[in-house]
């Protein structure tokens, strides 16, 4: 819980990641960029799952809506302005989350899980079954947005290194924003809702509004991740909204340890790294990955976020359990 004690490892982690472009290997720059995008995505979901107690199983919808928004809003032969498409994409996701939130937040627990899934599936089928975004084949984003402001271009998203640092900056910003948010009265209320919503109501909190606020915010940040994803890869497909993707990001959050922003980031890194590394070393990567996940659940209750604490306790020779 001591903010300063854990600051150093985080700074080191960010610094290490910031060194990735020095390798000059576009593949690594891109893949780490993707992991950073997923980290934003996971943090946005953790705001709901880990802090507000709202387990959304349809979070990919907001990722996907923003992803499609960039592709659809960008002109075919020209670059759109970053300062227009990014806010627009994020706002669309936020709007979708707000409207869907109005409905789904009436339910609780597992029912909430399923209704969020239902709405996400509807969004999925809209993109999959209609020609709107190229149907099941998806569509290309032919030109990455331009960051030019009145002719002056501070950085170029077409440059992979610039893009990488842009994403990294976004990730750090989202982290700082959420970390701060969670310490605010608003954040404390969310955590209170997770613990005992009924009690929060009888204390005079209009919990629905807070939950809707959190849901919309999470949708917006999920949208930010979706936006960055499209800019990074230039290709969108309905699968981005599928329940598999919603499940994957949920797994990242759980793997990292719910209710811990750094855990969500760690979960995203671990999840993507495992897929990457295991698929590299063997054709039977699923077996390895499945085995590791099962082992994590059995031996690391509380996910990766609990690991530093365990190490500390082991070093201090303190009480087990």
């Amino acid at each position: 819980m001591n903010a300063h004690a854990s600051l150093l490892p985080k700074l080191i982690a960010v610094a290490t990641v910031a060194c990735v472009p020095l390798s000059g290997e576009s593949f690594y720059i891109e893949i780490v960029g993707k992991v950073l995008v997923m980290a934003i995505f996971a943090m946005s979901l953790d705001l709901l799952v880990g802090f507000t107690g709202l387990v959304s199983f349809g979070h990919a919808a907001y990722f996907g809506i923003a992803a499609y928004a960039v592709a659809l809003l960008s002109p075919q032969y020209d670059a759109a302005s970053l300062w227009v498409v990014m806010p627009a994409a994020v706002a669309l996701s936020a709007l979708a989350a707000f409207v869907i939130g109005l409905f789904v937040l009436r339910t609780k627990g597992i029912y909430f899980i399923m209704v969020t899934l239902a709405f996400a599936q509807m969004a999925y089928f809209i993109f999959h079954d209609t020609p709107l975004g190229g149907g099941s084949d998806g569509m290309y984003l032919n030109n990455k947005p331009s960051a030019a402001i009145f002719g002056w271009e501070p950085f170029e998203l077409t440059n992979e290194v610039h893009l990488f640092y842009f994403i990294l900056a976004m990730m750090v910003l989202v982290y700082l924003f959420l970390a701060r948010l969670l310490q605010s009265p608003f954040g404390r209320v969310l955590v209170g809702i997770k613990s005992n919503e009924h009690r929060m109501q009888s204390l005079g909190y209009f919990t629905f509004r807070y939950k809707l606020g959190a849901f919309t915010l999470a949708g917006a940040l999920g949208g930010l991740a979706g936006f960055l994803y499209t800019v990074l890869f230039g290709f969108v497909t309905p699968e981005l909204l599928s329940w598999h993707e919603s499940g994957n990001v949920l797994l990242m959050v759980i793997l990292g340890g719910m209710g811990n922003l750094a855990g969500a980031v760690a979960g995203a890194f671990a999840f993507e790294a495992m897929r990457e590394i295991f698929a590299d070393i063997t054709k039977y990567w699923q077996l390895l990955m499945g085995g590791v996940i099962v082992a994590v659940v059995l031996f690391l209750p509380g996910g990766l976020a609990g690991v530093p604490g365990r190490i500390k306790r082991a070093l201090q020779g303190g009480e087990a359990k």
Partner: protein
């Protein structure tokens, strides 16, 4: 739609609904009653289907395959519970999500290694391999009707066990407060093991029964997973009748959705779920 077609579509809906209930029945037990969020339900279904394929190839009969397969599935379920799930009851429910996701990967890969990635068929037992003429061009396979009968029997049996027997009461109580059940001198660990094994066996049975009509293929589990959860949840978690009603509703919605609004048929099921849950936030029949 002419009247005859309407009747046949109604029959289709019923039959599909009952099939969905069969597929979801194991989940009703493991998730609905025991409260385990089991994403590997689809894998157990797949295990059943492949057991049906392997065993019926070996023995030459689906009936034999089922007779041999059920005990295997029970043992398999009990071992899983002992080795994995029993450690998770006291933890956050979402860790079960992680665990069962890991299991999906493992089972899928093992399936590929052991049986390969081809699509297989399973023969309908000879005594059921007939059909009933409905219209001059269309007939209805007896096997499908037989499965429907099994589903109804299963629903009644499941309801009876869960609602009417002491075992059922203990299981439900265990989901409320495990240590209290233990304090009453009941070996809840053993009960949970047995019930989990039963849930696995039910899922496997569904796979075995469905194998002849759905064929046996990679990833077949993931196709039934979501729909099973949808059914258990719309029905009201923990309610067998609810699951049955939900399965029938989904059966009707899907069947008539395909006929009447084909453009939207992909989302019909989800619209139904959203509407039901917004109307009754705890499912159609909450408990009992």
């Amino acid at each position: 739609m002419d009247f005859a077609s309407f009747l046949i579509q109604t029959l289709n809906s019923l039959q599909y609904g009952l099939l969905l209930f069969l597929v979801a029945s194991g989940l009703t037990l493991v998730f609905g009653i025991m409260g385990i969020i089991n994403l590997a339900h689809g894998s157990f279904y797949m295990v059943g289907a492949y057991l049906a394929f392997v065993l019926s190839s070996a023995t030459g009969s689906l009936v034999m395959a089922i007779v041999l397969g059920i005990p295997l599935a029970l043992v398999f379920g009990a071992i899983l519970e002992w080795a994995l799930f029993s450690h998770l009851y006291k933890r956050d429910h979402l860790e079960q999500v992680l665990l069962t996701y890991g299991l999906i990967l493992i089972f899928e890969q093992l399936r590929s290694l052991l049986v390969g990635d081809d699509v297989h068929g399973v023969a309908i037992p000879a005594f059921l391999d007939a059909s009933i003429q409905l219209t001059e061009v269309m007939s209805y396979p007896v096997y499908r009707l037989a499965i429907s009968a099994v589903c109804v029997a299963l629903a009644v049996a499941l309801y009876h066990v869960i609602q009417r027997t002491r075992l059922g009461m203990m299981i439900r109580a265990g989901n409320d407060d495990r240590s209290m059940v233990e304090s009453l001198g009941i070996n809840i660990d053993m009960i949970y093991r047995v019930v989990f094994a039963l849930g696995v066996a039910l899922a496997a049975l569904a796979g075995m029964l469905a194998a002849p009509i759905s064929s046996v293929f990679p990833n077949m589990g993931s196709q039934v997973l979501i729909i099973s959860f949808v059914i258990v949840v719309i029905g009201g978690i923990g309610s067998v009748w609810g699951a049955l009603v939900a399965a029938l509703i989904v059966g009707f919605a899907d069947t008539f959705g395909k006929v009447l609004i084909p453009e939207l048929s992909g989302i019909v099921v989800y619209v139904v779920m959203a509407v039901v849950l917004l109307w009754r936030p705890e499912g159609i029949l909450k408990k009992g």
